[in-house]
Symmetry: C2
Subunit: 401 residues, 2 copies
Amino acid sequence: MLRVQKYGGTSVGSLDRIENVANRVAKAREEGHDLVIVVSAMSGETNKLIEYANHFSANPAKKEMDMLLSSGERITAALLAIALQSKGFDAVAMTGRQAGIVTDDTHTYARIESIDPTAMQNAISEGKIIIVAGFQGVNKAGSVTTLGRGGSDLSAVALAGALKAEQCEIYSDVDGIYTTDPRIEPHAKKLDTISYDEMLELSSLGAKVLQNRSVELAKKLKVKLYAKSSFSDNKGTLITEESKNMEEVLVSGVVLDKNQARVTLRGVVDRPGIAAEIFTKLANNNINVDMIIQNVGTDGLTNLGFTVPQSELDNAKRVVESFGAEIGGIDFDEHVCKVSVVGVGMKSHSGVASTAFTVLAENNINIQMISTSEIKVSMIIDEKYGELAVRTLHEAYGLDK
Amino acid sequence: MLRVQKYGGTSVGSLDRIENVANRVAKAREEGHDLVIVVSAMSGETNKLIEYANHFSANPAKKEMDMLLSSGERITAALLAIALQSKGFDAVAMTGRQAGIVTDDTHTYARIESIDPTAMQNAISEGKIIIVAGFQGVNKAGSVTTLGRGGSDLSAVALAGALKAEQCEIYSDVDGIYTTDPRIEPHAKKLDTISYDEMLELSSLGAKVLQNRSVELAKKLKVKLYAKSSFSDNKGTLITEESKNMEEVLVSGVVLDKNQARVTLRGVVDRPGIAAEIFTKLANNNINVDMIIQNVGTDGLTNLGFTVPQSELDNAKRVVESFGAEIGGIDFDEHVCKVSVVGVGMKSHSGVASTAFTVLAENNINIQMISTSEIKVSMIIDEKYGELAVRTLHEAYGLDK
């Protein structure tokens, strides 16, 4: 059966680590698997090239950036192929183009449009281990494109989909997805399995492991993803389709986002379209609004609350103040954080949210805003209670068991 | 008019030097030229990548080496394009493939088979400065190939030919071709002009500037080559077709090759084919024979002399000794050197060789072997007289004037 493995920058960060990856690949080969290996640039390499470019321009042309940045992955791919060949394995290195990855024209953040797997299939049927330079493809005009941060994960998932691989293993220096951040709650447990949707909602727990674009693509292509460490033989976490089994678990994880600032607009004139105007203007100013709460208004006035990343608060202030008299008053608070509880079990079980509200209240933690989705409850609270809230919720849902 | 400029590894060896090259290109642009710029990898980069590969294998697969090594030039090309863009110039970076360079399948030492200049011509007609990653092309199967040491010069000459450029300027840290090595003869003069054939015969004088393959290709494609320094505004040396004017100069340069060892075979059985057998066997053992001298034999025996690089002398010994009784005796001397006098003027002027023999005799320098071509006289002498012979000949032909 064919496996796609992807090794991130830290896993290939030195010649010794590339050697280590070669040994892991060799072992998987000896277990009888067909293998397509996707590699990132050696850690630090991409940042070095970005620094080089920024020496000349704060805003270098994206087409040239793609030619520049794509070279890091090519170097790793060639080196890993050479390392495997020196161990007697028949390995071949391929660029994104050679692997058949065609993208749109959005340089530095291209989307994969199609994959022609013929060259890879031929190489596999010749018994070769394929090493693909991640993070890159080629547009229809033949220019190299890159897929943005985390792009090598995307390459791996897309190739796994195109090749109908049994599974796609994403290797990093983290051995899986945890019920919460172990730096906050030492009793955090590694999850054996998690659904795509839970993973998307818990993205900040897996940010170092998997980016949302890759999880979304894996979900779409039904690719079984494993998040594993290249530095251990731990089993890792399987990210896959939701199953009945998963619904028995109420909550999979608790996640804290400290990069939140709250904006509350009081006494907003309650005419149709006012909210649309405010949020369109915020979007046009590249402000990423996260949670939005609107209460039903009284006396033709309504209250509107939302959160933005802390670094965007000043810009957000300017935008909302520009609405002048249409808004009665504006409150800002950058000392807030968001605690979220995620689990597919919420769909079939009631009471998950009320448990959260109850245990926070028992700890005298005031909830300023609440937002819920099918599988998530998010709460905005005072920043200083963030870690306490995580530990409290983690224990309340029995995640430490 | 279109100019092709090529900047070598030392010329683009740091970000500041790439900035310097950008300024030079900008200046040429402001003078009104269309420009195709070919760049090497930053100096040291290619050797670093070779070291990386050798960490895994003493003899890495050539296909993977090409993917590895071609990345250095891509980095420089992207950076130079970014540097020019930041100065307000419309520049575009191209890989060898994008520039339309198609080679044969000989990885790490590919030959250019064809160039499709369409993409470059389109970019030029849009007013763009083209920056091409040198040293590389792509074979018909779509794999990256590299052209061997000095390959960026070859890229530049080939592109100049395909685009019918007015001239091709090869920039390095040396400002042209000298009448002899200035470290041996401080009065060495930079040549304004030299013919392709003289340049080929003087290759060791230009070894740091231009490799023979590039000069041969320039001759074939009738590309006017300039050897210039990227660190000065000196005029450089024009390498071009022979002209009447050049023939007025008897001698263009004097060159010393210290890496020579002499082998003399005495009393060789003078049967047809014996020389062919000896030199075929030497060639099959990868021994590069340089000069060959055979004297007419007497008594059915002949004397045969040749030179080889000093490092290949031991191998050469083994080969000739394997002929056993067919060879009467064998002399070796690794303390010899070759002094050559080169000039197209020799074709139309007699006495050039005898001047050399005379002035060496006046200095008590014994000539062990002589070999002449239409435009060159080469002499094997005792190694210790090499520098003296160069200075003597340089003065005798008035090259210091």
